[in-house]
């Protein structure tokens, strides 16, 4: 047993050595990967968030002037466009979106204790209700700054009448959407100006690592969300069996956007994986990990096809045995994808480190 253990260690060491040798033969151009991913993936997606959130802010403010039941769907449509723009870049949890806790301010979820509902009521009916200026947002809880609070304001069962009659509901919806537009614009701008410095392969401490910090962050943005989608957006909702399914644990269930959000996430992750120049897909192949690259590509395609085959919205899908089974199958595919991505990291000498969900 001991000799086996020792052998295993040595083999593990030699595996690393082989990876090192193959890299020496075909060095990875991380700078090119970083640059193309920023210009082709990150920047356009933040621009899309800025654009859609601006439309949302204008649509909400405009609607609040007359508050007519007839065109309320335009506000909801603008919300959904803006939300999906966010879902298309939600996987990036580093850089400007981390500053000032913007990521949490855009979306605090999951909310296991119902804090958003409680704090939203306090903001609408508390002693300082109606003052939704910069000072308010500066001190406010993350739960009432972003999409989840806005979703409650626009989609609760009595949302329309609340917005029409409550003295502050429309003002708060307008303030939140305006704030989202500002944040979206700031993120888009900061990625334009900051990105140039961040593309270098030097790390913060001036050393040149085999994998630059920025590339590692991009790899984390690719790999870690797969588990989040599976655990929080699917498994927690699906429960142990169909009778244990719980719609209200889903992300965006009030707006009926749960499945659309997962679709946006998977589209974005596959783009991050396959879209760069060179793409990660190609990088893996140049490192000899062709079988793994094939597998990852196939699993992305399979997951997106499985999701597309589910007749939505999620509330309906959970009631139907066939579509419930399809979501289970999607969850299994995501588990395989998660494993395939992690297993591919040694081939490119990437150590992702701890992530913020490790303690969950």
């Amino acid at each position: 047993m001991h000799s086996f253990t020792r052998l295993a260690q040595l083999l593990a060491g030699s595996g690393l050595l082989l990876a090192g040798l193959s890299q020496a033969a075909a060095p990875i151009d991380w700078e090119a990967f970083n640059a193309s991913t920023i210009s082709g993936h990150i920047q356009p997606r933040y621009q899309q968030l800025a654009h859609q959130s601006q439309t949302l802010a204008e649509t909400t403010a405009h609607w609040c002037n007359a508050r007519s039941s007839d065109d309320f769907n335009q506000v909801q449509q603008a919300f959904e466009n803006s939300l999906q723009a966010w879902q298309g870049i939600q996987h990036v949890q580093f850089g400007p979106v981390q500053l000032l806790m913007r990521n949490y301010g855009i979306q605090f979820w999951p909310d296991r204790k119902g804090i958003t509902g409680r704090q939203l009521q306090a903001a609408l009916n508390g002693p300082d209700a109606g003052q939704y200026d910069d000072a308010f947002f500066h001190q406010a809880s993350i739960s009432i700054k972003g999409f989840p609070a806005l979703e409650r304001l626009l989609y609760s069962t009595d949302a329309l009448s609340q917005l029409q009659r409550h003295p502050h509901a429309c003002a708060l919806a307008t303030a939140i959407s305006t704030r989202l537009a500002q944040t979206g614009q700031e993120l888009a701008t900061e990625w334009q100006t900051l990105a140039l410095d961040d593309q270098r392969s030097e790390n913060d401490d001036g050393t040149t690592a085999s994998v630059p910090d920025l590339s590692l962050n991009l790899l984390r943005a690719l790999v870690q969300p797969v588990e989040v989608i599976r655990d929080s957006k699917l498994e927690a909702v699906l429960g142990e069996d169909q009778t244990g399914a719980r719609l209200q644990r889903a992300e965006n269930w009030r707006s009926g956007q749960s499945l659309a959000s997962i679709a946006s996430n998977l589209e974005a992750l596959q783009d991050l994986y396959a879209g760069g120049e060179p793409s990660l897909d190609r990088i893996l192949r140049t490192q000899g990990a062709t079988a793994q690259a094939d597998q990852i590509g196939a699993l992305f395609t399979q997951a997106r096809a499985q999701l597309a085959a589910v007749a939505g919205p999620l509330a309906v899908a959970l009631e139907n045995a066939d579509s419930y089974g399809q979501l289970r199958a999607l969850s299994a595919t995501l588990k395989s994808l998660d494993e395939a991505l992690y297993d591919a990291m040694p081939a490119i000498d990437a150590q992702l480190g701890f992530n913020s969900r490790d303690g969950d």
Binding site: S3, T5, R6, L7, A8, Q9, L10, L11, A12, G13, S14, G15, L16, L17, L18, A19, G20, M101, Y104, F108, R112, K113, G114, I115, G117, R118, Q119, Q139, A140, S141, I142, S143, G239, E240, G244, R246, Q248, R249, G288, A289, Q292, Y342, D343, P346, A347, Q351, G353, F354, N355, S356, R357, D358, G359, D360
Partner: protein, 430 residues
């Protein structure tokens, strides 16, 4: 054997090349094994202390129930706070040891919807929740419950009722019926002071069947007794798990030694970063919500965080100050790191000290009238900065822990089900 030697030379070539030296290459396997064994000894000592102090808590609770008074209530509260000292230090053993992680939810689940257990102030707590049909079930007041089409017989409150029927009922994690925080709620009650100074103020008469406040004092006593008996029982189980031939120790020592070392670093990094810095500290600061406080009924969060961080330092340094005052010391990961990279070891030691210092400042703040739930209040920028400093220190030490993993080449080791070590043939094929 020749095959083995070829691999040995490959491994040596690897060390001489650009990749860092392997732990097993620079240190003899015996030394690394001794570190892992001592780590298991630390776990045994820490859980044994947690058990001793939980037994003291249980006696204090029996005293409270038999002779309820402000004095016996205060003694029980002090016993609870003392019991947290070793338990929090044991949390460094949680992540990485699957047996501990699977068990943890029984003893330290948090946050909880306390309305499941007992009366609550409905104006602040609310009466229902999207996610939890048992949000206001109030088992102490309701011997029989019908919720969501199922009937629950709670006429006799027993440890079994709490652990088998109530805990995480309906698959909802915040239905916490057992463990330290359920007991904490029963000793303190809800903290209705929000983000101003003050903890829960449950009166001792909540346990006085002759002069009962809050209703159902007999059932409340039954619940509290059952919960503390369960805690003792659960800790007995965990102590046995770390004794010679115990399941957790066997699982750890059966691992290849590199995985054993990776278990230590996994516990350090996962607790420091995702759990303690993120879930338990930063989230409350961002939400400004007193419910987002780890020990929210007792306002003991500063000490719980202090000892949580201390546990991480313990497993790195291979030492533990026991509750009887004695100091355990032995072969440490720190010494191994120092033998490979003295500067890295020095930096991590310094950062672990800085984390303790930041935690101490939160403790001092609480002593001066600003506990965690006051520090997180909107507009309290000095308090917020004190908490942020603790979060930043934990993040810094996690980054260095990652460097340790990288330097000792523990990084490709998957702690749960390791392909790279259990299935070595798969590795060189890549």
């Amino acid at each position: 054997m020749p095959f083995n030697r070829t691999l040995m030379s490959l491994s040596l070539a690897c060390m001489l090349g650009s990749t860092p030296a392997m732990a097993a290459g620079t240190d003899t396997p015996m030394d690394s094994q001794a570190i892992v064994t001592h780590y298991a000894d630390l776990a045994l000592a820490t859980y044994s202390d947690a058990l001793t102090s939980a037994r003291a808590l249980h006696s204090a609770i029996e005293q409270l129930i038999s002779t309820p008074s402000e004095q016996t209530l205060q003694s029980a509260r002090m016993a609870w706070i003392a019991a947290r000292v070793p338990y929090q230090q044991s949390e460094a053993f949680r992540f990485g040891n699957s047996l501990v992680d699977d068990w943890e939810g029984r003893v330290n689940a948090w946050p909880l919807d306390e309305g499941l257990i007992d009366y609550v102030a409905s104006d602040s707590y609310g009466e229902e929740s999207d996610e939890n049909p048992f949000y206001s079930a109030n088992i102490i007041a309701n011997p029989s419950l019908k919720i969501g089409g199922r009937t629950l017989d709670a006429s006799t409150i027993t440890p079994k009722l709490l652990s088998a029927s109530l805990h995480e009922i309906d698959g909802v994690e915040s239905n916490v019926a057992t463990g330290y925080h359920a007991i904490e709620f029963l000793l303190w009650g809800q903290d209705l002071h929000g983000m101003t100074l003050g903890a829960g103020e449950r009166p001792a008469t909540d346990y006085d069947t002759g002069n009962c406040t809050g209703g159902n004092c007999d059932r409340r006593g039954d619940y509290l007794r059952a919960a503390s008996a369960l805690l003792v029982q659960d800790l007995e189980e965990m102590v046995a798990n770390w004794q010679a031939e115990g399941a957790a120790r066997s699982e750890l020592t059966a691992k290849p030694v590199t995985e054993g070392l990776a278990t230590i670093t996994t516990g350090m990094g996962s607790l420091a970063y995702g759990e303690l810095a993120g879930e338990r500290t930063k989230l409350g600061l961002m939400l400004h919500d007193p419910e987002e406080e780890h020990d929210c009924f007792s306002d003991n969060t500063h000490w719980s965080h202090f000892y949580d961080a201390k546990g991480i330092q313990n497993v790195y340094l291979g030492q533990y100050s026991r509750i009887d005052g004695s100091l355990m010391q032995g072969p440490s990961l720190a010494a191994l790191v120092a033998s490979v990279d003295p500067e890295l070891d020095k930096r991590l030691r310094l950062q672990l000290d800085q984390t303790q210092l930041a935690a101490q400042l939160m403790v001092d703040s609480a002593a001066a009238g600003e506990p965690y739930d006051v520090m997180i209040a909107p507009g309290n920028s000095a308090g917020g900065a004190r908490i942020q400093a603790f979060v930043d220190a934990l993040i810094a030490q996690t980054r260095t822990t990652e460097e340790v993993i990288s330097r000792l080449e523990l990084g490709q080791v998957n702690v749960e089900g390791s392909d790279s070590l259990d299935n070595p043939a798969a590795v060189p094929a890549q």
